[in-house]
């Protein structure tokens, strides 16, 4: 039985990458083939012909119809078979499973659960992404060889920043500053303030601070696979901790995680910031993030390998694990709720 939340909108691919040819993607352990049809919508089928199991991504797109590369069976955008060469009758079980998709914030989102529950108004949105006073820069689709909940741990965990990202996002000033968290409906916020300290390396490069700053990190986790980190700095004394952020640098670092399978996660990351910058500066900023996330990748993959090698190991718990622990309980609760009888799940 699947051990994933299914009734949720997952980020699957950058919209920019999906055109009217055939694209392979994998999510919750399922191989999919994607294409953009003539109406501009993204079609997502299981990537396997029901006849001889050839991946449909090795077939051909003929208009909006996908033709299998082995014997020419054709499937429409709904997954229904519309042609079997050599015979007139189309078997009633000649269908490929197809999943609802929706696009927002430059991404294709997919619903792997009960299609009757796929409400596109629930697709994640960050209002600032659409705000003319803010600007956004798309990042990469970073593949990490770990379970997506290990990446989610990392994104409910401000404490690692001071040890992992010393050249970009962290500084030793924060090593002993405690972390707070608060659970909300389907959401978890983890945060801390590090006040009256030098700016982190990133803001020394891109800000222009002439003294110590107050720095905040708010990790907004939306179960199961979205994390948006609101972080920024303002000159100490300008009242940022009390709510006055008129003169600050603020960035929403978005991590849209695709749970590929038990061993693989793709982190679609982008940043939305309260200032505009030249393309060159945007590229430099992305390069800093890319370098930082590469540091996370190395750590998460090493941990994943050890978890595979030593499945019996029971990690010790520290104070900073409070938020990741709640995060995992929240996700487990969602999975169990889905496995309860169907009617109750709908009612919930």
């Amino acid at each position: 039985m699947s051990n994933y939340v299914l009734n949720t909108w997952y980020p699957l691919a950058w919209s920019r990458d999906i055109n009217n040819s055939l694209h392979k993607r994998r999510i919750v352990g399922k191989d999919l083939v994607l294409y953009r049809n003539s109406a501009g919508n993204v079609v997502a089928h299981v990537d396997m012909c029901p006849h001889r199991m050839l991946p449909l991504s090795q077939g051909k797109l003929k208009g909006d119809v996908l033709e299998c590369g082995y014997h020419g069976m054709q499937f429409d955008c709904s997954g229904k078979c519309v042609r079997v060469p050599g015979q007139d009758i189309i078997p009633s079980n000649a269908v490929v499973a197809t999943y609802p998709t929706h696009e927002n914030m430059g991404l294709v989102w997919i619903w792997m659960g009960d299609p009757a529950l796929a409400d596109t108004s629930k697709v994640y949105d960050l209002p600032q992404y659409h705000d003319a006073n803010w600007s956004s820069v798309e990042g990469d689709a970073l593949e990490i060889g770990c379970h997506y909940l290990n990446l989610a741990d990392n994104l409910c965990d401000p404490a690692h920043v001071n040890f992992v990202h010393l050249t970009t996002l962290g500084s030793s000033a924060g090593e002993d500053v405690p972390v707070h968290h608060e659970k909300q409906e389907g959401k978890l916020i983890t945060w801390r303030w590090i006040n009256d300290a030098p700016a982190i390396p990133l803001f020394q490069k891109f800000g222009n601070f002439k003294g110590n700053v107050d720095r905040w990190h708010y990790y907004h986790y939306h179960a199961p696979s979205i994390a948006v980190i609101d972080f920024g700095s303002a000159l100490t004394g300008t009242g940022a901790p009390e709510g006055n952020r008129d003169d600050c640098i603020q960035i929403y670092a978005c991590h849209f995680m695709t749970p590929v399978d038990e061993d693989t996660t793709i982190d679609h990351w982008l940043h939305v910031k309260n200032f505009k910058a030249s393309e060159e500066t945007n590229k430099a900023l992305s390069a800093e993030f890319r370098s930082a996330f590469q540091e996370d990748k190395v750590i998460l993959e090493a941990i994943h390998q050890n978890e595979r090698k030593y499945p019996e190991h029971r990690p010790i718990k520290l104070a900073i694990d409070a938020s990741p622990t709640r995060m995992r309980k929240m996700v487990q609760g969602m999975i169990e709720a889905e496995k309860a009888p169907a009617k109750e799940a709908v009612a919930a």
Copy 2:
């Protein structure tokens, strides 16, 4: 327990490749070492010294005797140990299993079953191969990462040609032409005619047809591992469908399959044709086949991967599956007959 037919002559290697040095081959999940002895016969032993399991292919051939590379045990062509350095008594269990071989049509054939049943008169033969009016060109030993019965499916299935081999062996004219088949003793013939249509790309290159042609494909499958495809074309109106093939191009495309193991098959292919051609033309013809079989390889390997990943998947059945389905029943019947008590098997 082995899930292969054993009492049969399997194609194992090109004769041209086996000389008086040591060659590794693998068939029905067994590693073998081959060499040609001074009498010119091909010797095939299990490739493992019974002492410390070193592959004998890492030893030395001393005349007709094979010496293990670790402690110098020597085995003759029958697999009997004839020397143990450091001791005079040769243990009675110091033998390596050895299998009967025979050569025909440029290939070494091997009998992996009961040696008492190994009748060389039953080795497959195509009479035209020896006919001075015909000519043959040896192809490759194409390794395909799939079970050999998936390749056999493909070789009982004329319908895939129109979708997989559009630039060589097929054309869209045949997409909806139905397929026929007939079972005979240990044999299955699958065929169709595509009449009054343009020649396929291959025959446009190598034939000289000035109009539409009648084209036939007869797939002769000899269980478990031989497929010979009789295909050809004649100008429409010259009576080919009625049996008059005086003025036609005809090719026997032979596929001699080695079932290496559950995940690997080697297709020794060659073609025998009713015309002679320059070496250049023969090479060009082989290049066309090579390109077509590469297309099959890509498809068969993708299917094999999906069969491994999704063992619970039940493919839907189409009309064109009738012949492959019978083929598999035939092979399964042979395997079960062999597993019946030994005396009955011999009687059969």
Copy 3:
């Protein structure tokens, strides 16, 4: 349950390779991180933070304290946690397992068993290594893809030399000379003399014999993972077999085996010889050994693959297997003795 002798000093690494940075090693299936502390001692921890399982070798050495690279937990040389950033209380289970080490003969030795039994006076020593009349040359850390007891077989087996090492250490003269062995407490000696025969290729290069020689090979195996081969030659007629070795070439070829895991062994080899030589000659001598041990590696890895593929195979036994068979019984006896109740083990 571990299938290794644990209460023994194993060779782990060349001392020359371990400095005050972090080094990964693996032994008896456990990953370790090593470093040399400010007192000059080699510290060996399990290479995994007890918090989130990150390998500690991906952390930082801060003085003698090892800091985890994920959240900055710090561990001292005894494995005790001395800092958890963000909290004052250190959990009592925040420790990493640490193993006793000792250095001798250019190697770091480690005790993976009960630390109360780790008596450094029991670390292996070859007196000639420290003798001014002898000289030694360190070799490599040769990784072999096999179980260490298969290498140990090889090092209780003079008979293979005549077939495997014809260009260096063996010659056909010895093919049929019988092998002797004698068991002592925790030790096994296997030997043979090959008298009145031409010198082996190695001694033809590095000795200066003007006639036939008497050659001895004494394989001293110290269970479970040390083999020291005393071999040499003297002119026939000078009385070497009777004990007079005044004018001879003698080499102790030492093999200090690290049982990495079930599939991997590292052979730390060096030679100690009764003559001094130029650096150039020493290098040439090492090159000969390197070439010979590469021949063993090829054989041992091929055997290991076959043992994995055909676990049901029962090798036949020859006369030359008497010593390896006793060796394996000796090691199995040590493992079983350790698994007996703890008090008895200590008493033993």
